[in-house]
C-alpha cells in the first residue's frame, strides 16, 4: 500500500516539476511548484521524517512560495512577458540535461546504496523531540549562526528593496 503511495507521489512530483519548467505563465509555474513541494512533503511523511515534513510544509510551501507568488504578481508578469529562447537552444538544453540524466542513472545503477539495518533501526529520529535534542546539543553554534544569517539576509533585502534618495518612481 505504502509502496504505491510512494510511486504515486514520485510521479506527482516529477509531473509537477515538469509543469514548473514548461508552463508559460509564471503564476502557473508557482502553483505547480507548490504542488511539487506538497508531494515532497508527502514523501517526508512516508519516511517518518515528521520535522522535515513540517518545516518543508511551513517554510517552503508557506513562506517561500508565497513570496514568489507575491513577487510575480507584484511585477505583473504574464505569459507574454517572457521572451522565449530559440528552439535550437531549448533542444540543446534538453539534450544536455538528458545526457546528464542518462549518465547519472547509469552511474548510480551499480551503486550499492545499502539498505536499512533492522536490528538497531530507530524510527524516532525524524521526530521533533529527537531532532531538537541533536540540534541544540551538537549543532547549537550553527543554529545560532543561522539566526545571524537571517538577520543579514533581512537587512540585505530591505537595503536592496529600498528606493535610492533621488530615484524616480518608474512603476
Amino acid at each position: 500500500m505504502t509502496g504505491n503511495i510512494f510511486y504515486f507521489l514520485a510521479f506527482l512530483t516529477l509531473f509537477a516539476a515538469i509543469g514548473v519548467v514548461a508552463s508559460k505563465n509564471p503564476v502557473y509555474s508557482v502553483l505547480f511548484m507548490i504542488l511539487t513541494f506538497f508531494a515532497l512533503t508527502g514523501q517526508y511523511i512516508l519516511l517518518n521524517a515528521q520535522f522535515v515534513a513540517a518545516v518543508n510544509f511551513i517554510v517552503y510551501m508557506g513562506a517561500i512560495m508565497v513570496l514568489f507568488l507575491f513577487v510575480i504578481m507584484f511585477l505583473n508578469m504574464r505569459e507574454d512577458t517572457e521572451q522565449h529562447k530559440p528552439l535550437m537552444s531549448k533542444i540543446a538544453a534538453a539534450i544536455s540535461g538528458g545526457i546528464l540524466l542518462v549518465i547519472m542513472v547509469a552511474a548510480l545503477k551499480d551503486v550499492d546504496a545499502g539498505g536499512y539495518n533492522a536490528e538497531n533501526f530507530n524510527s524516532q529520529i525524524g521526530l521533533v523531540e529527537h531532532l531538537g535534542q541533536v540540534l541544540f546539543r551538537d549543532y547549537l553554534l550553527p543554529f545560532e549562526l543561522a539566526s545571524v544569517l537571517f538577520l543579514a539576509a533581512m537587512a540585505g533585502a530591505v537595503m536592496l528593496g529600498k528606493r535610492e534618495p533621488g530615484e524616480q518612481n518608474r512603476f
Binding site: 511585477l75 551503486v111 524510527s123 512603476f171
Partner: protein
C-alpha cells in the same frame, strides 16, 4: 513504537537516488531553457529540494539524524537566499523593466 516504516521496507534506497536525479535534471533543464529570472530561481529551488529528499531518505534509512539536521540548515539558507535573491530581481526589474537573464550579459569581453 519502534516500527520500521513500510516504505523503508518495501522501497529500495536506489529508487530514491533515481527519483532525486530525475528531479535534479528537470531543474537543470528548466535553468537552461527558461529566460525569466524568477522561473530560473524556482528551478534552482527544485534542485535544492531533490538534494533535500535524498538527504532525508539516507538519514531515515540509516537512522542517522545528521542528514535531517542538514536538510533543516539547507532550508534556512534557502529561505535567506530567496529573500535576498527576490529583492535583487525586483531591483533589476525596477531598473531594466525586465527579468530576462539574456539582458544581463555585461559579463563579457
Amino acid at each position: 513504537m519502534n516500527e520500521i516504516p513500510e516504505v523503508i521496507r518495501t522501497i529500495p534506497l536506489n529508487y530514491y537516488l533515481y527519483f532525486s536525479t530525475a528531479l535534479f535534471v528537470i531543474g537543470i533543464i528548466g535553468v537552461l531553457t527558461r529566460r525569466n529570472a524568477i522561473i530560473i530561481f524556482m528551478c534552482i529551488e527544485l534542485m535544492l529540494n531533490s538534494v533535500n529528499l535524498l538527504l532525508t531518505a539516507f538519514s531515515a534509512y540509516r537512522s542517522d539524524p545528521n542528514g535531517q539536521i542538514f536538510v533543516f540548515f539547507i532550508m534556512a539558507v534557502a529561505a535567506a537566499e530567496v529573500a535576498v535573491g527576490l529583492a535583487i530581481i525586483v531591483m533589476i526589474y525596477r531598473n531594466l523593466r525586465s527579468t530576462d537573464v539574456n539582458i544581463l550579459n555585461r559579463l563579457k569581453w
